[in-house]
Symmetry: C2
Subunit: 126 residues, 2 copies
Amino acid sequence: MRRAILLLILAVLSAGCAKTPKIKVSILYPNAEGKHFDVDYYRDSHMVLVKKLLKPFGLLETGIEKGLAGGDPNQPVPFLCIGSMTYNSLEEFQKAFEAHGQELVDDVPNFTNIQPVIQISEIVKR
Amino acid sequence: MRRAILLLILAVLSAGCAKTPKIKVSILYPNAEGKHFDVDYYRDSHMVLVKKLLKPFGLLETGIEKGLAGGDPNQPVPFLCIGSMTYNSLEEFQKAFEAHGQELVDDVPNFTNIQPVIQISEIVKR
């Protein structure tokens, strides 16, 4: 009887833990002739501003990946930098961006002349 | 005297903790007319094989991001999927790929007809 109750509690807790998947917003800056990207400014200023403005709206984590190389050593790296933000839901990201997106977009010329590619993805768990 | 020794120990430990940055290998599958991607197979089979073969060589983490949308709601999502692997160093990734890369490449037609873009990046800490 006790064991059955314990198993029931564990089952309910497990079901409660099956949360909706998190969302990752990736900002990819493609490499090309004449393009530049200031990773130091991006890390020390832009991403600091991103966290300050968007954490109150649910921003969980940020990431910065500085491009080193592509799959073909004879070709340039595909992206000079990839930035990312994680949220619990698409709605949280949308509200965050409605509130402060323009201010963040206005900061972009301070670190790059690249038009980024934006990717919104579901983080797939295994 | 005791305080000075303690500070010295802390300083040495901190210096020892300034590790070289980790490496992220991203495999991006661009969306296009006629292209498909089986995320279920990628999650339940391909990435399982990746972990089995490459963890002994230092693979730390894997990630799967399923493309939902781009920055422009009137345009298709840029990438159907983005896979990733994290390593402590580029050398570890290179050895892992030399050992098992072909087997993993041979599995690709089982889940997609897209030629991926490979990006090797340094994970920038703040």
